[in-house]
Assembly symmetry: C2
Homo-oligomer: 193 residues x 2
Amino acid sequence: MRIYGDSISGNCLKVKWVADVLGVPYAWIEVDILKGESRTPRFLAMNPAGQVPVVVLDDGRVLSQSNAIILHLAEGSALIPRDAYERARMFEWMFWEQYSHEPYVAVARFQVRYMGKPVSELETRLVERGNAALQRLEDGLLGSAYLVGAAPSLADVALVAYTRLAPEGGFDLGRYPNVQAWVKRVEAALKIA
Amino acid sequence: MRIYGDSISGNCLKVKWVADVLGVPYAWIEVDILKGESRTPRFLAMNPAGQVPVVVLDDGRVLSQSNAIILHLAEGSALIPRDAYERARMFEWMFWEQYSHEPYVAVARFQVRYMGKPVSELETRLVERGNAALQRLEDGLLGSAYLVGAAPSLADVALVAYTRLAPEGGFDLGRYPNVQAWVKRVEAALKIA
């Protein structure tokens, strides 16, 4: 398998972590999004959406969307709960991540870290919704070691990716102690600390 | 099962259609988002994210996120491809829908139809990205009756929900003939025309 990804992207790292933890062999091909390498004609032929990550499976078939890729790689593994309701809750977190977390937490971090915008100049909406997402996670982790059930699942992989980088976007994880402890726990479980 | 949903929301209708087509019995409880009914303390106790749809399963457990709910309802049905790669492609479309389609196509439609904003005053970014999403669908449907494989899947359910309402946001589906024909085909398959 070939993984086309940018190492600065949490979405891309999700795929790397799952492949690593499950022992799936791969070649990593670095795609520099800041240099527009995900918008070249060759890249767009592979993924018309112009987004990383993309994987090319051993049979040559292509797959994109980080969460779809990790679901495919982790099929049948312990990262996907066997209980139907727990699996549904895992999906709930994963769709919520792409809709209500990534567009704020990851975008703020991108603007600060890679576009050089001062934290004080971030759009209020971005900061408010990012904090709302972190608070939602904080509440979801109350009394729980992981987001779903008693073991790490793809919900943790998907949510930790940008949550651990939230301070780079000016978010103070000290306000969210459950989240802070969970980040360390998931990093240890995935061996990415 | 109880479905808490607003009939004006494509996300909520996805759940209704899947329940209907699979013969899953349910009670529909209308939640008027324009009146703030998804932000009351009682509703937030059920879904802290303050979003519809929410379902309360027969055992009292709660599930939110439209795509997570339809995955749960459709488990084992023909709406989820049995082939692992086709299933992965279905997920790819479903995550793409929430990240790259709904935030533009559905938001434009909401602003025009329910906030009374003239189409000419929509943010340029919203219109451009909405059209980019529709073009991506158009390309994805080239030579295909459905988004994944030869039969309707949850990818079609998820994407048709707001695509069929795109004209209410000022998008001209006449520019996307594959999409236009596919909308009719999926509406017929789901018996929602």
